[in-house]
């Protein structure tokens, strides 16, 4: 069965209210803008969104935030969208802040079947409160749990028809990690090529992780987000 899906809404059919959803991107860079836009059309709420940021004000995940569909955000830098602060102040959203490297490694661990890992990052700070601390060979670490999710929405540059992926410049960021850490993974890409057209040495995400491929309809340009 082909993984390629023409209908964005249908591709997103797997997302249910209350799900945990990984969303790729560093701000809008490398964010799956078409899939996020599709999600704003769907009647789902109480979502837990794992993403470095919650978009920008009124852009990307910021639209979903303003629709009150997000119950909880897990990320490292919510400062880039001022609406998050307002919602948090009003008790309309829960937030879990993680150091950026911890967010990345927790996704990697989740995808690799690990329960968690010990890291020096955050030891002795407010972000270590409530986390197990342990000394290994004379160095203090805290335990961070792996992150796994129901669905991942990611962005790549090219897919082949099997779902092998290559990325583009700094739009790669969290996307290859998120591809590994969810039950269902949907990728949006600029271009779909035949299997065999991508150099196996250059494939970054092997197709084993990918369930559904869609063509990007919303892309980030110098002029902002445009529909193609």
């Amino acid at each position: 069965m082909s993984k390629i899906q023409q209908d964005i809404t249908q591709a997103l059919d797997c997302i249910k209210s209350g799900d945990t959803v990984l969303v790729g991107g560093f701000g809008l860079i490398g964010a799956p803008l078409t899939l996020i836009d599709g999600l704003t059309e769907r009647d789902v709420n109480e979502l837990t969104i794992v993403s470095n940021n919650l978009g920008e004000s009124g852009k990307g995940l910021g639209i979903l935030l303003n629709q009150n569909k997000i119950k909880k955000g897990i990320g490292s830098y919510f400062t880039s969208n001022r609406d998050v602060g307002d919602k948090y102040q009003n008790g309309e959203i829960e937030l879990e802040l993680l150091p950026q490297g911890t967010l990345a490694e927790s996704l990697r661990a989740g995808g690799a079947g690990l329960g968690g890992y010990y890291t020096t990052t955050g030891v002795g700070t407010d972000l270590a409160i409530g986390k197990e601390e342990r000394e290994i060979d004379g160095i203090s670490y805290i335990l961070e749990k792996a992150i796994r999710a129901d669905v991942a929405l990611i962005r790549a540059h090219k897919a082949d028809t099997l779902g092998n992926l290559v990325y583009y410049k700094t739009a790669r960021n969290f996307n290859p990690l998120m591809a590994t850490a969810a039950k269902t993974v949907i990728v949006e890409v600029d271009e779909i090529v035949e299997a065999g057209e991508l150099n196996p040495e250059e494939v970054v995400t092997p197709f084993i992780y990918i369930d559904t491929i869609v063509k990007a309809q919303q892309v980030l340009t110098k002029e902002g987000v445009v529909t193609v």
């Binding site: 802040l97 490297g101 410049k169 790669r172």
Partner: protein, 213 residues
């Protein structure tokens, strides 16, 4: 007579002074703000810039060559140097935590007299972002901090003890302000340089933290 610098001139003066401390070959990670300006003053060829969103080999970029998908940690457009590479966020932070980055240059809100810094949260305000600051502090071989010496009300930001939440228990290696440069050795601040036109009396007056001269 002291020449009064405006804020931008002050920031550039700090950045220029930091650049003098960088010796190649080395890998440097630049934070947002004053640290970003350091790149303008680096004279050595074999200094490579790492940005935590996934690029080793950052350069500046001409306006006509700007690519919206090629940015630094501050989401500003950048270029790629000869020999550059892209990688995912987990690999990027493995480089940082794993001790493969030689120098991290970060901004700070406060520094204490042992060289512990606070740069991610302000009490009484919502804690909304931390980014890569905690990872860089635990992992970089050396950490240089740039900051303004005093707050708007004139009070020292180099304190006996930070009043804001600390970013790490790790002590930084050097502190650069518009007034002076300090080295941190064994948890003690030592004044190593005065910025042009600044007197030792002014530094003493505006510094709460203990330091040796």
């Amino acid at each position: 007579m002291t020449v009064q610098l405006n804020k931008s001139e002050m920031q550039h003066a700090i950045a220029e002074r930091v650049a003098q401390e960088l010796e190649g070959p080395c890998i440097v990670n630049l934070g947002i703000g004053i640290p970003t300006l350091v790149a303008e003053y680096m004279t050595e060829d074999n200094i490579y810039l790492h940005t935590e969103n996934g690029l080793l080999g950052v350069t500046d970029v001409d306006d006509e060559a700007i690519d919206p998908n090629l940015v630094n940690a501050g989401k500003m457009p950048v270029g790629e140097a000869v020999g550059a590479s892209f990688f995912n966020s987990s690999d990027s932070f493995a480089m940082i935590r794993g001790g493969h980055v030689d120098v991290a240059i970060l901004g700070a809100l406060q520094t204490d007299e042992n060289g512990v810094i606070a740069n991610w949260a302000v009490p009484g305000k919502n804690i909304m972002g931390v980014g890569g600051a905690m990872d860089l502090l635990v992992g970089a071989k050396k950490v240089f901090v740039t900051m303004s010496h005093t707050s708007k009300d004139g009070s020292s930001k180099l304190l006996k003890k930070c009043t804001y939440p600390i970013t790490s228990t790790r002590q930084v290696d050097m502190i650069f302000t518009e007034l002076a440069v300090f080295k941190v050795t064994d948890g003690q601040l030592k004044l190593v340089d005065l910025m042009p036109g600044v007197t030792i009396e002014e530094v003493r007056e505006k510094t709460e933290a203990a330091f040796t001269e």
